[in-house]
């Protein structure tokens, strides 16, 4: 079968690989009908996530049709149409029982690697390095889905298109959780750093959860425009000083909640500072470029909440801990516990509260995945979200 393989830094190839087999009794094999390239795949593409091996199959946003189930699977049958959440979760451990699916204690067979880096291991993730399990991803024709009795959600409403439900796998719940953990109160102002796909869904979710105002921050006009269409006010950080602008917009207080939807490869408005952090990251003196996070913390109102949804992997330099501590800022973060949000968000889609397909700008064949990565990475042709169909 064809699959999108990581072949080194900035190298992605669609290659012929063996078809997946059932390895555990709770597995299902899914024939992929739609899959997307995630912003966090670009961290793999750029080589900032350790423990990748040449040949690893990428992709953690996918959906399709069940073609085979393991002996212990009773909730799914061959032919079912499913969306698969990106964290792999057993449903039986303590975190899973409490709804913290991305912290599943059993789904990462390489937990020891993650423990060396982070102290303890989170859940395994499809197509996202060996320290997160070494699972083949879903940018392929077929994919093995472990714990298929816990993760995949059946889509029984045929009036919904793949494009409308595909993003239940990651970015819609991720953006939603980013807003939900801010405990938005009536009248609140929410600022969102990064108007990429997760940022777009964070903006939309903040409104769904009752925010009065949402302010989106980016440097690409087409991205800001899309957030504007959802109702957000916009700031271009290459044109204004973001912290001052946010103070002005909130009569001196700062936003009640600040969402970082950027992560480890943030760009800085100031050329020299950007180059400085890029150099340090290049020589691994720090693993992240945390401009957006620094700005989110120092911009937040006293006693407000900073929600980190962008992906980070290691350690940062010049973390504004003084601002955080002295001003009683609450930090909320985590890989999204997708399994918890799929059902309610599917209902939101069915009810017409949100149609997530608005972020899609490019539709390609799976065989063109390498081009998709390139365009998404370089933001060519106003690229926002690439959907691949095998």
């Amino acid at each position: 079968m064809k699959a999108t393989c990581w072949m080194g830094v900035h190298r992605v190839e669609v290659r012929d690989v063996p078809e997946p087999k059932i390895l555990n009794s709770r597995d299902a094999i899914v024939r992929v009908t739609a899959t997307a390239i995630c912003g966090s795949d670009l961290h793999l593409f750029d080589g900032y996530v350790p423990t990748m091996e040449k040949g690893d199959i990428l992709g953690h946003e996918f959906m399709g049709e069940v073609v085979e189930v393991g002996t212990a699977i009773t909730n799914l049958s061959v032919g079912d149409r499913v969306v698969v959440p990106f964290p792999i979760a057993c449903g039986g451990c303590h975190p899973c029982k409490r709804g913290l699916f991305s912290l599943c204690e059993n789904s990462n067979p390489n937990a020891g690697l993650a423990e060396k880096a982070w102290g303890s291991s989170p859940a395994g993730i499809f197509g996202y390095s060996h320290m997160l399990g070494g699972y083949a991803g879903g940018q392929s024709e077929y994919v093995r889905v472990p714990f298929a009795d816990v993760g995949p959600i059946k889509i029984e409403d045929d009036s919904l298109t793949d494009e409308q439900v595909l993003f239940l796998s990651d970015i819609l719940p991720t953006g939603y959780m980013g807003a939900e953990v801010c405990d938005i109160q009536p009248g609140d102002t929410v600022a969102v750093w990064g108007a990429g796909p997760v940022g777009q869904f964070a903006v939309a979710s903040a409104y769904l959860l009752g925010a009065e105002r949402v302010i989106a921050i980016d440097r690409f006009p087409y991205r800001l425009e899309m957030a504007g269409d959802t109702g957000a006010e916009t700031l271009n950080y290459e044109e204004v000083d973001v912290r001052d602008a946010l103070r002005d917009l909130t009569a001196g207080r700062g936003p009640d909640a600040c969402i970082d939807a950027v992560g480890m490869e943030a760009h800085h408005g100031s050329g020299p500072i950007n180059a400085y952090d890029k150099l340090k990251q290049g020589v691994r003196a720090e693993t992240e470029r945390p401009h957006a996070l620094r700005q989110a913390i120092t911009s937040c109102r006293n006693g407000g909440t900073v929600s980190i949804m962008g992906v980070y992997g290691g350690v940062v330099d010049k973390f504004p801990i003084g601002s955080l501590m002295n001003r009683s800022i609450t930090v909320k973060t985590g890989q999204c516990h997708v399994q918890r949000y799929m059902r309610p968000l599917l209902e939101r889609i069915q009810d017409g509260d949100i149609d997530p397909s608005f972020v899609i700008t490019h539709r390609m064949s799976l065989s063109d995945a390498a081009l998709g990565y390139e365009m998404f990475k370089k933001k060519q042709d106003d690229c926002m979200k690439v959907v691949l169909t095998p």
């Binding site: 699959a3 009794s25 709770r26 212990a72 029982k97 059993n106 472990p146």
Partner: protein
């Protein structure tokens, strides 16, 4: 741990009197002193090698030219790095192995530096003897620290202890373990356990180079839902014993499973150090076993991925299959 551990010494047949008390670092004071001494020795040797390479060259009787000075400086930097590593680490095992490698390298360099003049020859010979002597100390220190991933018993046995929390009540977890025929489901080295009745069982384990080790074991203590202790019967090739305790986790969040295993490694301490070089670390193995145990109890089986198709094994983490379906 709220329940005090039952006196394992009483349960296990042999051994168990420890040589001195363990330090927090897991090393006993005397081996701590030897390793630390070697660390300081590295620093003391490295400093003049880097700062005064000519003098050191003349002292040990090798020609003082620019090439030899550069080599001496490099050797000095290696010593400084190794010394700092040994002194910095609570368990400097790797740095001690690095010292042994350094000793071998020095012996090769000294051999190459042998000079025709009699005075030079005497000095080089003396330096060679000194390096060889230090190498012996390095090997001793490294064999000692490499045993200390667990603790050591009076008769040279290895004891390891680790724990895991499983999200199921103690009776269920005890019940699974109590059927010894389940043990190979999560203990990677076991091929089979056959319960022969009357608290006795026959165990078969995989050993290096495709061989097998077999032995009989008997249960020596069994407290339902709390504790199981067993030991190998007389005549086992690798005498061993084990004890597992099940206690309710705080807030009734499952069961804390604490395992202690003890065995006499074939080839004694040096044999154990040798196995460790090839990744056969006893503490790591039992930790992996408990991780799989948790998977089996909580999910029904050992969890497999494309990169690790045989399931959790620490050794495997460093040479992964690519994340593609197994062909």
């Amino acid at each position: 741990m709220r329940n005090p551990p039952p006196p394992l010494e009483r349960l296990l047949s042999r051994t168990t009197e420890r040589r001195g008390s363990n330090t927090a670092s897991g090393r006993r004071p005397n081996e701590d002193r030897l390793a630390k001494g070697l660390g300081w020795f590295s620093l003391g040797l490295g400093l003049p090698q880097v700062l005064l390479p000519s003098r050191v060259n003349r002292l040990i009787g090798i020609e003082d030219n620019s090439r030899n000075r550069a080599i001496m400086r490099a050797v000095g930097l290696r010593e400084l790095g190794g010394g700092a590593g040994i002194l910095d680490r609570p368990r400097p095992g790797g740095f001690l192995f690095a010292r042994i490698a350094g000793d071998l390298m020095d012996l090769v360099l000294l051999r190459a530096a042998f000079r025709p003049s009699r005075k030079g020859r005497r000095r080089v010979a003396a330096a060679t003897a000194a390096v060889a002597g230090v190498a012996v100390l390095d090997i001793v220190a490294s064999a000692r620290t490499s045993r200390s991933s667990g603790s050591t018993t009076a008769d040279g046995g290895i004891r390891v202890r680790t724990a895991v929390t499983v999200n199921r009540p103690p009776d269920e977890v005890y019940g699974y373990w109590h059927d010894f025929e389940n043990l190979p489901n999560f203990m990677a080295h076991l091929e089979s356990v056959e319960v022969t009745g009357d608290g006795r069982s026959h165990w078969t384990a995989k050993a290096p180079a495709g061989t097998k080790v077999e032995w009989d074991a008997e249960i020596v203590e069994d407290i339902p839902d709390e504790l199981i202790a067993w030991r190998s019967a007389e005549g086992a090739h690798v005498p061993n014993s084990g004890c597992v305790r099940f206690t309710s986790a705080p807030g009734d969040a499952g069961t804390e499973v604490t395992v202690e295993l003890e065995y006499q490694p074939p080839g004694g301490a040096m044999g154990a150090a040798f196995s460790r070089l090839f990744g056969e670390e006893p503490l790591q193995q039992i930790k992996d076993d408990l991780r799989r145990f948790k998977q089996v109890i909580e999910t029904g089986e050992v969890v497999r991925s494309d990169g690790t198709p045989e399931g959790t094994r620490t050794q495997r983490q460093f040479h992964q299959d690519e994340a593609q379906p197994v062909g």
